[in-house]
Symmetry: D2
Subunit: 349 residues, 4 copies
């Protein structure tokens, strides 16, 4: 009953097999490996973007921060949601990699940026000329931190606003596959056709050992990205072991299959919780994360029976006399089973 994080799952068997298969003989280092060529071909074909460039790094934080650094000069503003990973969970990596950008926080329900608030935030940035930071980039997250998904239309509306002001767009797609299977649209629809210039395409949360890709739909950014990646220590000498994972991930729709499993388990979990405690769900459950408020006693029971997950925000406490509602984040992954879900719901019952 492990629902604490999709980072805690093992790697998918197919991925581990691909890694073992890669481990034969010598291979060129620093990204010149044959497996990397295959990753590039897969990405270009799957995203219908024959010019796109793709580079691998170890962490989502690196993929995001390096991407933003290619879009924003140091004296610029990055527009992001108030609750975004970039703002809260990267220890200032965007500021570090960009050389000191300012994150301008924008509101919106269910962790999706509100178009009017975005318009206002961009409009009021840079109006005093040299005294202000300038308009830099927009960064969206899909799946959002609330487990909700932007539709292509919603994304396009936001990136259109940005583009009006000359602002380019980045997508934090740490759970891009989960968003994609929810939206049932094409990868292109949910990225460059929705106005995205650079995509952080996640892998670790969806069955890899730890690889993320940066997909540059504008290939003119490629050289700068590579220099920044090297300088940041993110160019793997034995890149073959990253590309072997990512190549297999994109093959035969494995990435989508893994995401589907995770999403369907979240749906099952949501239904179970809603049955248990009507109104428990805090956000629409559109991907692999469930945010729910349940009574303290339910949480205590579940955790006592071995369930693992976080109260969210983490500052809430299980201790206390009252049986008030406490909110929690419950994350499913490709390896979550129906049995895991059902036992969790039972434990809370």
């Amino acid at each position: 009953m492990f629902f604490a994080s999709d980072n805690s799952s093992p790697a998918a068997d197919e991925i581990m097999s691909a890694l073992v298969a890669e481990n034969v003989g010598y291979e060129k280092s620093y990204g010149a490996d044959r497996a990397m060529r295959k990753v590039r071909e897969h990405v270009r074909s799957i995203f219908e973007a024959p010019e796109a460039e793709v580079f691998l790094v170890l962490s989502g934080t690196a993929a995001n921060a390096l991407s933003l650094a290619c879009l924003c000069p140091p004296w610029s503003a990055v527009f992001c949601h108030k609750g975004s990973h970039a703002q809260h969970d990267e220890c200032g990596a965007p500021e570090f990699y960009t050389g000191g950008c300012k994150l301008v926080l924008v509101g919106g329900t269910h962790c999706k940026i509100d178009p009017e608030e975005l318009q206002h935030a961009i409009e009021t940035t840079g109006v005093l000329g040299v005294h202000n930071v300038q308009r830099g980039a927009l960064t969206l997250t899909n799946v959002t931190e609330a487990g909700t998904c932007y539709t292509p239309d919603e994304m396009r509306r936001l990136t259109d606003i940005a583009r009006t002001f000359g602002v380019r767009s980045h997508l934090d797609g740490a759970r891009f596959a989960n968003a994609l299977v929810n939206q049932r649209c094409s990868p292109a629809d949910l990225s460059w056709r929705s106005g995205i210039d650079v995509l952080s395409l996640g892998g670790a949360k969806n069955g890899l050992l730890g690889v993320e890709a940066a997909v540059l739909f504008d290939p003119s950014l490629a050289w700068e990205f590579q220099l920044r990646r090297k300088r940041g220590g993110h160019l793997a000498s034995k890149n073959r072991f990253l590309s072997a994972q990512f190549g297999r991930y994109l093959e035969d729709g494995l990435w989508l299959d893994l995401a589907k499993r995770a999403n369907s388990m979240a749906k099952r979990l949501a239904a179970g919780l809603e049955a248990l405690s009507p109104g428990a769900l805090l956000h629409p459950v559109e991907a692999n994360m469930v945010f729910a408020q349940l009574s303290r006693s339910r949480h205590r029971r579940a955790l006592a029976k071995g369930a693992e997950y976080y109260l969210w925000p983490t500052t809430q406490s299980l201790e206390g006399d009252s049986d008030e509602l406490l909110s929690a984040r419950l994350v499913c992954s490709w390896s979550t089973t129906q049995d895991d879900v059902d036992r969790l719901v039972d434990a809370m019952g």
Copy 2:
């Protein structure tokens, strides 16, 4: 006949097996995994340093730059050899991570820093007070870029000079295991007993898929290191897959066995080349790298028969009428075989 780089070898079978074995069930993310605890225990025990802290990252560049950043404020000088990796092969990562340090280059034969030159370099840094960059840290490399090794005495002499001026010392140990088996001394002798405060302990060049450790003999640096690592995007969410590798690496002396194989193959290769062309060796062969000058025709023959290695410096050309001597770098790894070596020598004959 692959002698281009030890980064091109596969991972050792023991490592791959450990990785597969780790891939079961759920595990805490971001370094709280059980395998990491084992890595810490191994390091403390092997280095006879019960207080030491150890953190894993994907690349040697990251290990080096993060370590230096913890030792040097932005307005300081890093003293390093003229031919060092930090100066030539990291695209300015030390400058990036430290916030703009200045690398002060020091000479010395066979890529080992000359004590008098170091003394002079440190003495003349920071003498004009606020107008100069201040004395920051010393960084040594063992195995050096010339394939030579510092003895513990040689290292201590340099770190003693540094300490006189309040300058702390870092060791780039991308090939630390290879230096260790050459020196036949203890890990402690070649690190903290030789005055090293922070060690970048390599793995990728010696049989791992791609993990390096930063060993902090001064644990007071640990929190800053962790913040810098996270901010740099080098904290792996699924750290278990890094620690599983590194734990196995340090178990049962595997790291030393792998290094011994590589070193002995380099000795064999050196002997073969010297027999072929007396005086060919440019530096003492003390670890897994051979630097040799051989006639252009020998290189052509070898490369035509499928040998892979670099002319070093890479600006030399195989084209040309004269049969002049061209220098090359030939790197052995744990996976180099006697047959590889003998076929290469034959091919050059």
Copy 3:
């Protein structure tokens, strides 16, 4: 009728005379001048802080950013008011000088930080350990951007909250003299006795040609400050011409006299506007700035008759058919005269 900015006034005659008097013979450069010694003595005596260190720079942005950089590591949060100069008017200088801090915005009426909001902002920063930016420094502004003043008690309440969390405090005192004459307390009361560790002590807005001081009540920060100042290009070679101004400024209470004139003109202006249009004042007028809302026709009349000031925010427009209320910022300085004020009010009448 110039009310656009206190940066637009000339320098006070006394200051210019001091500058001319300084311009005789040779003097040591880079801060070793005799006039600087006098500045140090004045500051220590006036602030009853015999250990304090003081350094001069050309701009308030530099004084603020250098001070914050000495208080906050790159991975930390600077807590400031939503409307603060640091956030809006320095083109990211705090981010640049600190190496990428994050400004965490805190609300409060009349541009004064609300204690509860501060408590909450600090409490919720850094709670996820290495994933978050850490608690860095608090920066207050007195006189605030709304022309209001913190009392020593109000400041102490905020710095006490900060100190509870190990957070140190900086005061942006670009208009410190104006706050001081408003509060009728001692310089010590409004700075270190109120918990301030570093003070940016303004001069340019109050009769100097362009000098600001950083007063470090904790002298252990002095060497780092000096290195950062030099590295930032803010150590004046001919520092004598900065110190001559600042020395005279602090002599015989000149700084307070100049501020009194400015404040009293603002009071007069406020009274005039309130008489003209009851309820016009948007914030209490406690120093040298008046924020007032007046009908578009009044603004048009005044500006047509040669008055100079900004609609505030500057995005409002004089054009338009309706006679709606538009808000404006009207700034008095040491050189504003009663006649200026009365003519402005007349023009609006």
Copy 4:
């Protein structure tokens, strides 16, 4: 007998008068002042560069570092002379402002870069692709740190080499006026016609209170320069007091007259020292600085009689029994008199 630094002279009377004259009435802040418009016109006309942009800052370090930052991305190399101010006397300001550039040191006699060494340095930078820092900018200094001057031809030869590799050129002209009157060529000849893209045009060492200009011959750099200047805290709120100085400086050839005085005093001093001790001069005396080696006893006599100057390098000592030769730097300025010079030579006699 003050020969320690041209930074120790007072400001010229004409400059002080201009400053006093400027101090009347209100003026737009942050560079929108009328005096600044005049500076721009002067610069464009004097440099025959109708498109050039010019911005003022307080220090030469700021002018240099901001200029380099506009020419070099963070992952690039700045090519400079081994003895340059950028390397030795700016506490790492170029590294700070560029975001972590690497200064690549080039040799050459009398502090003038040797063309072949430059060619080699540039050629060998960036050859390993993403692993190396890339080619950034060339920075020359005229007058050099040895008091010698580049001819336009010499400069052009160096900037031509740079341009071949796509490397742009900056000139540190802290003593540009002194070089100009030595070369008897036009300002354009010694700057853009010699391949210079950005010029740091000095003022403080030649009679101003403390203002330097950055002249951008490529106006497309102007906006980035202004943002970097603001962000660095170098945009003066009361810029009028900088531009009043600089405008007068460039009027009626005052800048050249002041430089001529300084240069002619250096010639007189050089002749006196050479007569006293044939062979004393260490570098050709082409501007306002004299580098001479003289016996320890001569130095003692001079300093005992009140002369002020530095032994150079400053690590030499006046103490010691032997009467060996010690080298010194003797700097003349616009305010040095014949009497000063003659008394110094007498004192050493």
